[in-house]
Symmetry: C2
Subunit: 222 residues, 2 copies
């Protein structure tokens, strides 16, 4: 059984739950989810750091003790470590698979550090946090990332020419909740259409509800 | 022939030159290198943005017009799109290949945004740039990334258990020149030993010399 260490309101962690859903893997039968309260320091304990010195979730652990970190690498492993009929989530030839990775590196470098961080600041820091001064810059860069996605989706159904897969899952992670960070999707019709296509995929699992205290902070954020 | 658009002093771009060297690919025979002066806006021209809307190098273009961006995705393609004897640079089973990707995502998320950006600020911004106020924080986070690498290298020769490959190349990109950003490697003997092992690999290509104006800024940086 795979053990997933994750924080349910994290888009990076939700990516794994989403792919596991598409793969038909059942909680408590095929994997166990251990909730890690990362906003309150649970990834900084000596025990956690002994498994992931970089102090981040998600992390997976196999029964033999092997550990893997980095959400997008875990997606690649889950998609490849399945019967061929399921390998479609990381499908294609060497070029198509590398294009899938290209979008996943885009997500971690040009998208997540702005869209996810803006959301974190809005919902997981006090209303008087000095970090809120970063929001205008983060939102500007977040919109730049969304514009790159919108342009691709104007002529493409998915982020890989081989079909729906782990690049879409990686980008769905924080795009679907960009509004929590004050980054509205109104100007991106192609992205909104793509989000609906993702939600219509068999086995789709929505992100669990965000806690009331975080929702309240999001609602009060400017 | 592959066309590589790159800025020679960029560690992200140098990764490609390094793997091409290991693969025995010769400049002007197997690939052409087009120098892009990214610090002076050459990735923001309409022509460049029409090929990469994200406005970054490196980028590769094939003779049929296909384009790929994101240094680490290009490494994955170059390593996979070669005869099996050469596929050793992205070798192993699904787990080992995903672990290779894990280190490459670590590089882009937890290493490059600090170590490469500190170097850029030191060598490519004026001495009175307000961005220099970020240097202490960037250096602190850079050292955190180096500590994670040091811990891995204390018991491992390379970043993939399948041997020297694209994870090492990705991390070499900016680790070898971390000192340019004021991030010394003195406290990391395992990293320094690994850098020497990388330099001893057949086909290793050193980064071309940094321009005098940038070296002068680096020398004057605090």
């Amino acid at each position: 059984m795979i053990t997933v260490y994750g924080y349910s309101s994290s888009g990076n962690c939700h990516k794994l739950r989403l792919l596991l859903g598409h793969l038909g893997r059942q909680p408590d039968r095929d994997f166990r989810w251990i909730e890690i309260d990362s906003p309150h320091g649970a990834t900084r304990t000596p025990e956690f750091l002994s498994k992931n010195p970089n102090g981040k979730v998600p992390m997976i652990e196999l029964d033999d003790g092997r550990v893997m970190v980095e959400s997008n690498a875990i997606l690649a492993w889950l998609a490849d470590d399945t019967p061929d009929s399921r390998r479609r989530f990381f499908a294609g030839d060497a070029w198509q698979r590398a294009q899938t990775l290209s979008w996943m590196f885009f997500e971690q470098y040009s998208h997540e550090p702005y869209i996810a961080v803006a959301r974190f600041i809005c919902g997981w820091t006090p209303l008087d946090s000095p970090r809120r001064a970063d929001l205008p810059r983060l939102r500007e860069r977040g919109h730049q990332a969304l514009a790159v996605m919108e342009r691709h989706l104007a002529t493409s159904e998915w982020f890989s020419s081989a079909g729906y897969g782990i690049a879409d899952i990686a980008l769905f992670g924080y795009t679907h909740c960009a509004g929590d960070g004050g980054i509205a999707l109104d100007a991106y019709p192609a992205i909104r259409g793509w989000l609906e296509r993702v939600r219509a995929q068999p086995g789709f699992v929505p992100m669990p509800p965000v806690a009331a205290e975080n929702l309240a902070l999001i609602a009060q954020s400017e």
